[in-house]
């Protein structure tokens, strides 16, 4: 059987944990090295850490842009961005100069706190979500769900309807977003114990 979830082998990624949690919840994932293979899969996860431009140049130079656009926009199959992978779904980022994938109408900006604030950047650690709309990944009725975050930049959606959940760090920031088949989480479900497993199981079963 063909594994249902493809994870593009971008140089900015750290995939072993993502593959591991998918297997833990009964799914199948494969790290894919050639863009033309994406068509064989039902879902894609864009996982990545590090700087925005490094992420986008990984996508551009690896020839992934066309295949990803076709997967997400033409064929409208489920696609999940994790951490930097979520930010890459947006139009642009203050962190870099390259345009993002642009599937979500959002800008990625740096955390800004008042001078003298004791709040730290990055926003690192466990935080709870405020779910903003019914969605398949983090059901509203589940009660408190906490996830592991680590990021210095966050997405600001132009259309509030794209915001799936927020978390509080100084102010409410986008913790997860979605538009149709395109979904992204700023936190790391693969590092969030049973909460992350539940989320990944729901993505696997979509």
């Amino acid at each position: 059987m063909i594994p249902s979830i493809a994870i593009p082998a971008l140089p900015c990624g750290n995939f072993s944990s993502v593959v591991k949690i998918i297997e833990k919840v009964g799914g199948k994932a494969r790290i894919v090295t050639r863009p033309e293979e994406l068509g064989d899969f039902q879902k894609v996860i864009i996982a990545g850490v590090g700087a925005f431009d490094h992420g986008m140049s990984s996508i551009n130079s690896g020839g992934w842009l066309g295949a990803l656009n076709s997967f997400a926009i033409t064929r409208r199959r489920p696609i999940l961005g994790i951490c930097l992978g979520m930010q890459l779904l947006c139009k642009r980022s203050e962190e870099g100069a390259l345009p993002g994938l642009g599937w979500i109408d959002a800008d990625v900006v740096k955390f800004r706190f008042d001078p003298g604030s004791s709040l730290k950047i990055p926003h690192m650690g466990w935080n709870t979500l405020r779910v903003q709309k019914p969605n398949p990944l983090v059901p509203v009725e589940e009660g408190e769900q906490r996830f592991y975050f680590v990021h210095s930049y966050h997405a600001v959606c132009r259309d509030p309807v794209d915001v799936l959940a927020t978390a509080h760090h100084g102010y409410e920031v986008t913790a997860a977003l979605s538009r149709g088949n395109v979904m992204g989480v700023q936190f790391h479900p693969e590092k969030s114990h049973r909460f992350g497993m539940a989320l990944m199981r729901r993505f696997v079963e979509l």
Partner: protein
């Protein structure tokens, strides 16, 4: 609201788990995989594993073992010990480690921190700073590799490490290590005020109250070893970790 992280810190020596007291008297406490599995089941916020023999013995990280650790962790895993190059860091990240913790290499040359941060982001590189006070009570930077104090202002080294790209600072009080007699709150206060990145305080936690005191002194997170591996006055080995509700009550959220 962001939770304060409480992080078990496991020390490895020759592939076994040990716990030290004031950086000496390493006592064997068991098999690391077993301990990590228990901590993962207890849903710890994060886990730090430090190989205290690696730099001293000039050894490479034990990748095979670390890969097994990562396989048990559905929470962030930080590894430290013997990491000197970007290539080693890359290899560790590929195994499923989220963060590498540097001390000896960073004391030699902070540019390694910069090079790792540039490629993998600041969040992936921690600098661990050990502090020991001299007979006058003055805090000195200490090298765990050589076992000696270093003639270099410690607070400036913290700032330099952050400028170089460290995403977190792990601040360890050598004199409190393994004592469970409370953390060095003055040290934590001074360090936390000096750095804009999260500070992980280690050394001396003997109770949840000690952890709370460190957080109130400015630490973003607290790491502890003895507290989570020892039980009772005779320091019997027992792996524990507070329940989430206990931590919630402790931090009053």
């Amino acid at each position: 609201m962001l939770k304060h992280r409480v992080i078990p810190c496991l020390l490895m020596l020759n592939d076994g788990l040990v716990k030290t007291s004031r950086f000496a008297k390493a006592k064997y406490v068991g098999d690391p995989i077993n301990a990590i599995r228990i901590f993962s089941d207890k849903e710890v916020d994060e886990l730090m594993v430090l190989d205290i023999g690696a730099s001293r013995g000039g050894k490479e990280p034990n990748y095979e073992l670390i890969e097994q650790f990562a396989g048990e962790c559905f929470m962030p895993l930080c590894y430290g010990g013997g990491v000197r190059t970007v290539e080693q860091a890359r290899r560790l990240f590929a195994l499923g480690v989220e963060k590498v913790c540097l001390q000896s290499a960073a004391l030699d040359d902070l540019s390694i921190v910069t090079r790792i941060a540039e490629q993998f982001g600041s969040q992936s590189v921690l600098v661990s700073v050990d502090i020991k006070s001299n007979w006058l009570g003055k805090n000195l930077l200490y090298s765990s590799r050589s076992g000696k104090a270093i003639d270099r202002p410690w607070l400036q080294f913290l700032r330099d490490a952050v400028t170089a790209g460290a995403g977190e600072i792990v601040l360890n009080s050598v004199d409190r290590d393994g004592t469970m007699q409370g953390m060095d709150l003055a040290l934590i206060r001074e360090a936390s005020a000096a750095v804009p990145v999260p500070l992980v305080a280690v050394g001396g936690a003997g109770s949840l109250k000690d952890i709370k005191a460190a957080i109130d002194s400015g630490a973003s997170a607290v790491s502890a070893g003895a507290l989570f591996v020892f039980h009772g006055p005779h320091r019997a080995v027992l792996i524990t970790y507070p329940r989430y509700t206990e931590l919630e009550a402790l931090f009053g959220s």
